[in-house]
Symmetry: C2
Subunit: 190 residues, 2 copies
């Protein structure tokens, strides 16, 4: 029996991604978001939603660029910190000891210590209410060798990205391999 929980942002799971930008004073900044996802295959695009009050908002709008750095679960504490504290009040790179690397493709920094990075050019900023959705074209994806499998694909069990559960506000890791997409279902297709 299903119970109504009312309107709410309770889709599960959501990712834990760190958005990198240069702020209005040119300082590298980062913020953690869970409202985001892939939104188009060609051009390859990713979306991240940010409130207008956030330090990241004018930064992305001004330079039309951002990065998405994907933390491993070993950095869950730092990723949470980056989501709690404003870049207006603290140098979050200094506080975490992380290294800001200037992207060679877009005018934004990424987090060297995180194993997966997307460098994005801002395509659209869609004001939806509390949040503005930034749609970025992914100009390059950079990954540590250590998270790639034998075929050169990102291995999620090596990357160990973090999941966020809206509602409970719990973080979870990635679990067991369940199988191959575009393959498992063929038995039903017959």
């Amino acid at each position: 029996m299903k119970k109504s929980l009312g309107p709410g942002t309770l889709a599960q799971p959501t990712p834990v991604w760190v958005v990198g930008s240069y702020d209005m004073e040119g300082r590298p900044n980062m913020m953690t978001i869970a409202w985001g996802g892939i939104c188009c295959s060609k051009p390859a695009c990713v979306t991240v939603s940010v409130r207008k009050e956030r330090h990241t908002y004018p930064a992305v709008m001004a330079r039309k660029a951002f990065t998405v750095s994907v933390p491993s679960q070993a950095h869950v504490q730092e990723a949470d910190y980056v989501g709690i504290v404003s870049g207006a009040k603290a140098d979050k790179f200094a506080a975490t000891g992380f290294t800001a690397v200037k992207s060679g493709l877009v005018d934004a920094p990424y987090v060297q210590e995180f194993p997966l990075v997307l460098e994005c050019r801002l395509l659209q900023a869609i004001d939806l209410g509390a949040h503005t959705q930034f749609i970025g074209e992914i100009l390059d994806v950079k990954a540590e060798d250590s998270i790639l499998d034998a075929d050169g694909h990102i291995d999620m069990r090596k990357l160990k990205p973090i999941l966020f559960a809206p509602g409970s506000s719990n973080y979870y890791g990635v679990g067991e391999l369940l199988g191959k997409a575009f393959s498992l279902g063929k038995a039903i297709a017959g």
Copy 2:
């Protein structure tokens, strides 16, 4: 050392959600997507991206409505099937044995057998290229009692949603609890 993988939709992880709609003949249909996420807190909005060629596209455009049903990993085979086969060629509810429930709030059906459902009113359809991004206002969230924790929140370890890994096309389950958001990072904030 980071290696360039080129532009691509390689953000990790992405969700596995089933989008429900009534097709142009009024038949309930569903398709599996991994390009989506939450995009705004107020109004609560979720985004799902669909190619124009898909059977779901004109259905959502015509009725300005869709649902998101979140499968548990027990239904990973069915969820994959629903992403492989077109509703133009098969009755996917019949093939899977799933039950289409007409939403009382929007003109779209959801999957009774899946433990979590979002009922959405189409707010915007943004053509990005290969995909159109549907932004839906979440009018209600419905969850099985069995996936709620003692506080009434969705328990991701009970829901057991499926993750999709772009690149490898592997499906994964949810792993261990890593901690509480807006809390873990306080030690660094000092």
